[in-house]
């Protein structure tokens, strides 16, 4: 039996889609093919902005821009003869590449056997045969760099720790993941906990560690539960504990819960937190590789970093290193969110362009609005405006644009997002999360936020912009830890690319995107108002009154400028000024 799947790839062809469905069904019936073909409405076929798309199964061929006139041809050629209608064919390239997420959505995360069936723990067995030097050599060939933000080469980190003498060494998996909008690590821990455990064990072999810790934030209860279950299974099977695979290698793992402070993702604060101390960063050097947990040499790696390791051992560093760019190897998982049609996790080879991620994988911007920028790297990163979307994704490449790869948050912003508001949001986050230990971050952050608040309320002065960048540079130079050093980045990058928007707030006292509540007023025009009353129903401040005859009005004293009436009015009667 053949199946014809129909999809509207634009989001506004509902009627045409229905007509196409009906015509297909009728013509199939007329030709007496009803028993051999099923016509189905589909939600998403992975192609976008090609009008109506049709996919024929089991062949899997996809047609774009399909209209009623094409139906006889499709039935005659593809359904009856099994040939393609060449002029309609749409090639769907799969731009994602799954290494980190290779098992996510495939294996049962609570089954040891299922993981083993997918070559689980064979990387570990191989690492035990190879020994530490060869493992590090393999990692060097792979070119893998840390996915926790800084991008330090993993082999080098391991090699440094290996070189330090110590009676006991530790390895820590950093699963704190505090960036707003990021949840890659949670997904890996929940979907494939064994691969992170395996990666950690291979790291332990390389550096000579005998104990490992998973530091996971307590807000991730399911991740904690699944990792604990996986650890228990490993102990039961003898993959953890003493004399693993009868090689003399012994290793133990424990979970430690984080209380959800962003700063505890910073490695020295994280170590303090595991030790039971307050999560304060301390100056480096000494680096954890020399003096880490309880003063012993310690490796800290991110979840995603570790999830790559078993794959590298199993498939070889060279094959991993063939993916990506000169300086950035392998893949990166991004949490694609914001004003994008398909939000979710994507894993892409390094070197892919931002445009491909947003449009080919993400399906483009929600409601077909104009895209403005992309934010990467969360509170430590910056915005990248649309004119740079053809830049390849990589550590250095994104840095050149004034942002960072970061841990992988990627937020799509459209014309309704105000850049002053965005930088206020991220800076506000860092001010809340600053531990307060050092003055540049504690005082500088607060002062910058104060200035941004003034600007967004229309009380900003032109000198404020200069002041912002002065304080920002002082914070970058003088803060003790990465939080304070990178907190000004969102402000600096929005200032760099969207200075016009700041100037509109400061000079014209206007918010071009209509986001900053103090700078916009809402007003209902009697001519367009039909008196439907939708606005009055959604207004949370009860500021709108009226009836069908007299139409509706907004009481400016009660209005909180939330804009909900503007969003809900179907007749364009609500004006934003």
């Amino acid at each position: 039996m053949k199946r014809i799947l129909i999809q509207d790839t634009t989001g506004n062809l509902k009627k045409e889609k229905r007509d196409l469905h009906i015509s297909f069904s009728t013509q199939i019936r007329d030709r007496g093919l009803t028993d051999q073909v099923q016509v189905v409405m589909a939600s998403d076929l992975g192609v976008y902005d090609r009008g109506l798309a049709v996919k024929v199964l089991p062949e899997g061929v996809i047609y774009g821009g399909v209209e009623l006139k094409h139906i006889p041809d499709i039935i005659e050629k593809t359904i009856v003869k099994g040939e393609k209608v060449e002029e309609l064919v749409v090639e769907r390239k799969n731009k994602q590449m799954r290494i980190v997420l290779r098992h996510c959505g495939v294996v049962d995360p609570e089954s040891f056997e299922d993981y083993v069936a997918h070559d689980g723990y064979q990387g570990l067995a191989k690492a035990l045969e190879m020994g530490p030097e060869k493992v590090i050599e393999e990692m060097k060939k792979s070119g893998l760099r840390g996915r926790g933000g800084a991008g330090f080469p993993t082999w080098l980190k391991w090699n440094l720790t290996r070189g330090v003498k110590g009676d006991e060494k530790f390895i820590i998996c950093n699963g704190d993941e505090g960036d707003p909008g990021a949840y890659m690590d949670r997904s890996v821990l929940e979907g494939d906990p064994h691969s992170v455990i395996e990666g950690m064990m291979i790291g332990a072999i390389a550096v000579g560690a005998t104990r490992g810790f998973f530091y996971i934030r307590a807000e991730y209860p399911l991740a904690v539960e699944r990792v604990q279950k996986a650890i228990d299974q490993c102990y039961a099977k003898g993959i953890l504990g003493k004399n693993i695979f009868a090689t003399g290698f012994s290793f133990d793992i424990e979970i430690r819960l984080g209380a959800g402070a962003f700063v505890c993702g910073e490695e020295t604060a994280l170590i303090a937190s595991i030790e039971g101390l307050r999560g304060y960063p301390r100056p480096r050097p000494p680096f954890p590789s020399v003096k880490g947990l309880w003063g012993k040499p310690t490796v800290i790696n991110n979840v995603e970093t570790l999830a790559n390791v078993a794959y590298i051992l199993l498939h070889g560093g060279e094959s991993f290193g063939r993916v990506g760019t000169e300086g950035s190897k392998g893949t990166k998982v991004f949490a694609l969110t914001g004003k994008v049609r398909n939000s979710g996790l994507v894993e892409v080879p390094m070197g892919i362009t931002l445009r491909e991620i947003v449009f080919d994988i993400g399906g483009g911007v929600l409601d077909n609005r104009q895209i403005k920028a992309i934010q990467t790297g969360g509170p430590s990163g910056g915005v990248i405006p649309e004119q740079f979307f053809d830049a390849p994704v990589g550590y250095e490449e994104l840095q050149k644009l004034g942002s960072i790869m970061g841990s992988g948050g990627m937020i799509v912003m459209d014309e309704n997002d105000c850049m002053v508001d965005i930088s206020k949001f991220y800076l506000g986050f860092c001010v809340d999360e600053s531990c307060g230990k050092c003055a540049p971050c504690r005082v500088g952050g607060t002062q910058m936020l104060h200035i941004l608040n003034q600007i967004s309320e229309g009380k900003g002065q032109i000198e404020d912009l200069k002041k912002l960048s002065e304080i920002a540079h002082a914070m970058q130079k003088a803060s003790l830890c990465g939080l304070g050093q990178t907190a000004p980045n969102p402000v600096l990058s929005t200032l760099k690319y969207f200075e016009k928007e700041y100037l509109a707030h400061v000079l014209d006292k206007k918010c071009p995107s209509g986001k900053c509540a103090s700078l916009v007023t809402y007003l209902i025009t009697k001519e367009s108002c039909t008196g439907c009353g939708m606005c009055a129903r959604v207004c949370p401040a009860n500021a709108i009154t009226g009836n069908r005859q007299e139409k509706y009005t907004i009481d400016p004293d009660k209005c909180i400028s939330c804009g909900q009436c503007y969003e809900v009015c179907k007749f364009g009667a609500v004006l934003r000024q």
Partner: protein, 113 residues
């Protein structure tokens, strides 16, 4: 004494050998559960049991298509292998009734990504 490397290979072969021909996977991570995956999972299991269907219902992690959760992957002989997204309770019943039993794809939920 723990397992050896050879045991690992044996376990792999055994698990692969026992793999069911007909299976349904439900994305069961935080994103899926928040969207109602546990209800969907329960319905699928119940239906499989009461109708005595030869199909194994499994849990898996998140495929990344979080906006389409709950996401259900169906692999049943005689019907093309597809993903269903935004699976409601109603759709879960339909998957068992139409897809598994009648071998017809369910309308309006296919995500071929």
């Amino acid at each position: 004494m723990g397992i050896s490397k050879e045991d690992l290979y044996k376990m792999k072969d055994e698990t692969l050998g026992k793999r069911p021909g007909n299976w349904i996977r439900v994305g069961y991570s935080t994103c899926g559960i928040a969207a109602g995956a546990d209800e969907v999972f329960r319905i699928l299991e119940e239906e499989a049991k009461t109708r005595k269907l030869d199909v194994k219902i499994q849990k898996c992690g998140c495929l990344g298509l979080c906006s389409a959760e709950p996401l259900v992957e169906v692999n049943v002989e005689g019907v093309p292998h597809v993903f269903y997204g935004k699976v409601t309770k109603d759709a879960a019943h339909k998957i068992m009734d139409e897809h598994v039993c009648q071998k017809r794809l369910v309308e309006n939920h296919i995500y071929e990504i």
